[in-house]
Structures are given as C-alpha cells and as structure tokens.
C-alpha cells in the first residue's frame, strides 16, 4: 500500500518535471532598467519628469508587468509581453519595444510616446534581474 500511495506519485512527479522542461515561459524583463534616449523637441506640452526619465523598474508576473518610472512620482504603466514584443500603456505614456538578448544581458529596443509628444526611440539595458538568491 505504501508503494502504491507514495512510490507511484513520486514517479508521477518525476514525469511531470520531465514533461515541464519543454514548456516555454514568457521572456523575463523583471528588474531594474537604465534607458538611453534622445529627448524630442517635437513636444507641445512636454511632461518634463518623463522626458528626463532615465530608469524604471519592472515587476513581472507571467506575460503581465508593472513598470514603475523613477520619476519621483512613482508613475506606473501596465505592460504586456507577447513573445519578444513588449507594450505598455498609461494615460501619460505608451511604450512599444522588442525584447532581445540572453537572460543576463537583456535589452529593450523601441519607442516611447509621451502625452502630447512625438515618439522617441530608446534603448534600455537591464541593470539587475529580479533578485535571486540575494
């Protein structure tokens, strides 16, 4: 009885772990990011804090993420990851980007559009992935 109730499920668990190896999860973008962008002059009413924004942090759960801009106001954007495409929206800004690079050298390449401004190209580099083992 012991073998049936304990041994068989343990074998089943080993099977689950083996089967799960082939499952792909969304690309990881969680952590701290530093941005390089060119501030645009084509802006009717420039939201200065965002224009100067050079860093943000991302809290990720699956293909959903929450971006917090380090702008002193804690401005947040809801983001979605679809394959290697990353889109984020809020009433004051929107971002579309492509995720690239290996896990430890992840980058974002895309455009950020601030309210009332023309889109600005940016390149972002992940400074530190979501804390693991610290």
């Amino acid at each position: 009885m012991y073998l049936l109730l304990v041994g068989v499920p343990v074998l089943g668990l080993l099977g689950i772990l083996e089967a799960g190896r082939s499952i792909a999860a969304p690309l990881s973008i969680g952590g701290e990011w530093a941005l390089e962008s060119t501030p645009t002059a084509d802006c009717a009413n420039p939201p200065g804090s965002l224009q100067r924004q050079l860093a943000w942090s991302v809290s990720q759960s699956g293909n959903q993420a929450l971006i917090t801009l380090h702008d002193g106001y804690g401005t947040t954007l809801q983001a979605t990851i679809d394959g290697a495409t990353f889109t984020a929206k809020s009433p004051v800004a929107s971002i579309t980007a492509t995720i690239a690079g290996k896990l430890d050298q992840r980058t974002l390449e895309g455009k950020v559009t601030l309210l009332g401004c023309a889109p600005v190209a940016f390149h972002a580099v992940r400074q530190a992935p979501r804390k693991r083992g610290a």
Partner: protein, 420 residues
Amino acid sequence: MLDLFQLVLQIAVILVAARIVGFLFQKINQPQVMGEMVAGILLGPSLLGWLAPGVSAALFPPASLSYLNALSQVGLVVFMFVVGLALNPSELHGYGHAAVLTSHVSIVAPFCLGGLTALYLYPRLSDDGVTFTGFALFMGAAMSITAFPVLARILSERGLVRSRMGTLAIACAAVDDVTGWCILAYIVVLVRVTHAARPAWVTIAGSIAYVLIMLFVVRRILPAFERAFRKRDRLTDNLVATIVVLVLASALATEWLGIHLLFGAFLMGAIMPKTPEFTRYLLHKFESVTVVLLLPLFFAYTGLRTRIGVGGGRAIWFYSAIVIVVAITGKLGGSMFAARLAGMPWREAASLGILMNTRGLMELVILNIGLDIGVISPAMFSIMVLMALVTTFMTTPLLEWVYPTRLLRAQVDEIHKNVA
C-alpha cells in the same frame, strides 16, 4: 536614511491593527494568529492601498520598508528557533503504520498536485528566468506544508492534544515540517547555485558538514544549558544571551552557505534538549516578544507585498481558485484518504485531513522566501497568500462541523475513564 519616527509609527499602527483584528477573529472562533495575518493583508495594497492610497503611501513609503523587513526577519529567526524548539522528535515514535503512511501521503499528494498545477501556471505566471523544475518543486513544497504551530494551538484550544487524532496530527505535522524545510532548502540551493558566484560543491559540501557538526558536535554541548537550568530552575541572562548567539551563528552559517538563515535557526531549535520544563522555560523566554511584537511586523510586511485582486483581471481569480482547490484536495484529501486506509474511522480521518490542511504562517514564511529568491512572481505570491488564508480560516469551522466539540469531549472523557 532611517526615519525613526516613521518606523515607530509603522510598528504602532501594525500592532494596533494586529491586536484588533486578532481579537475580532477570536470572537468568531478563529486563532488569534489568523486575525494577525489578515491584519497584515488589510494594511497592504489589497485594502488600505486601494481605499486610501495617499494614507498608505504616507504611512508605508517603499523606501522605509527595508527597515520593517529587517525587523521582521530578525523576528522570523527567533520564531523559527521557537518552532524547532517545540518540535519533539520523540513524538514521531510509537505511532506506527498510520503516522508513517499518513504523513508521507500528506506530503506526496499535494506535492504531486502542485507539480501538476505548475504545468498550467508556469507559462502564465512565471518567466524564463525561472526553470520549470524550480517553479514546480516550489509549488509542490508550498502546497505540502502544514503550520505546525497553528495546528498545535488549535488542538490545544479544543482539548484535542491527547486524543488519538490529535497526537497523530502533531506527529504528521512534525514530519511534514521537517520534510518541507528539507525540500525547500534543496530548492533554495538549486535556485541560488545557478545565479551565485560560489561553486555548487561549496554549498552542498558545506551544508552536509554544517548538519553533521550540528548533530554530532553542537547537540552534545547543548545539554549543558539544561543542566544549568535544573540547578536553579532558571537560566542566567548570560546563558540566555549565549543561546541567542548560537541561534544567530547557526542562522548566519546557513545564510553564508546559500541555504537561508531561517534553516539555521530552525535546526538550532530542533536539536535543543527536549525535557518539558526546559522547553517550556525557553518557549516562555522567546515566544512573547516574538509573537506579540515581531511576528505582526512580518505579517504586515507580507501584506505590503500582497496585491490580492489588484491587477491581472479575472484570470488571477481563476488561477487563485485552481490553486485553492488543488491545495485542499491534495492536503486534506490526501491525508484523509491515507488515514482512512491506515484504519482510522471516517470522522477521525476527515478531521486529521482538515488539521493537516492548516497552512498558516509557515506558508507565509515559505512564500516570502520564494518571492525573495525570485522563484515565484508577485502575482503567484499573492495567489498563494490567499490560499494560505483560506486553508487556515476554514480549519476551525470545518473541524467543528465534522467533529463537533461535544463528541470530542465525550471521546476525551472516555479516554480519561479508561486511564483511571
């Protein structure tokens, strides 16, 4: 920079909330600790941050939380020592087939179902920074944990400690606790080794050496404390301080090895001498300040990281329902089924399953470790916290329904008559 006024204000607000909600929960026959856990959640973004974001941001600004976290971690180190102290290996002997089968099935069944659920949740709530193996093993470990301290308190409050079902539940929970922590230690090593600069063999060889030293060297020194206690019926402040230093040293050793500092504190408690008077004395010394002051801080810190129902839409509630159903089926169902097969009557087997399903704050401890090492995402953390609250909350009313107090008292009275 440390804002002392803000930190003291935070502690005061947390303690008041914990005592009030704890009191209210006691009024509905729930353990005080259940109310304190809920108080922590209420102070976080799930309620206060949602209803009054300005108040929440002023009271708990993100920059101030590191101090709250540090205090709560110190509290957890002492608490894990207390949990280890209350664990008596002799309780595991003498329960024979039923205890072995029930305890092992109560781990394996939820573990397997947790792994199975991971197949569905991994692509939805995780990312490629976490391996499936790490995610699935963590899900399994989190599903199979039993809150030994809460379970012991519920049994004690209902006068069930000496009943057959009560003693079996304590024995099974003790086995579950030790096994759960061993599995979790393995997961932490697994996750940390792949991201740490330290070679894996240092962690593995160091952990083995640490356990051997604790069991065969430190354990032989510890009875000296008990002898000193027997001479005066108390320990001097210097000896109590020495025990604290030993707990901290053990915690630091496991942290340095890459396991986690809580394992060291737990193991130090587990190898302390177990004579009832000595254990009671140490529990009294360490428990009050931990339970009254430091644990509510941990609950609040957990609550501030939990965003129940915030963001994620309907899917999050659907995932939560799946996790809760799987957790209850695996733990309650698995334990009940195994106990019944081992010869327990249905009513007792069901009660045992209900008790084993109590996850309480041990689950919160494990979930915080999982979030810290990045093996679960913030959404998964919130879902599992909700599961811990639901499974802990349901224990008392379900137990009363399945095994009413009047029946229990009759059984305990009969045992006393037979003993007399």
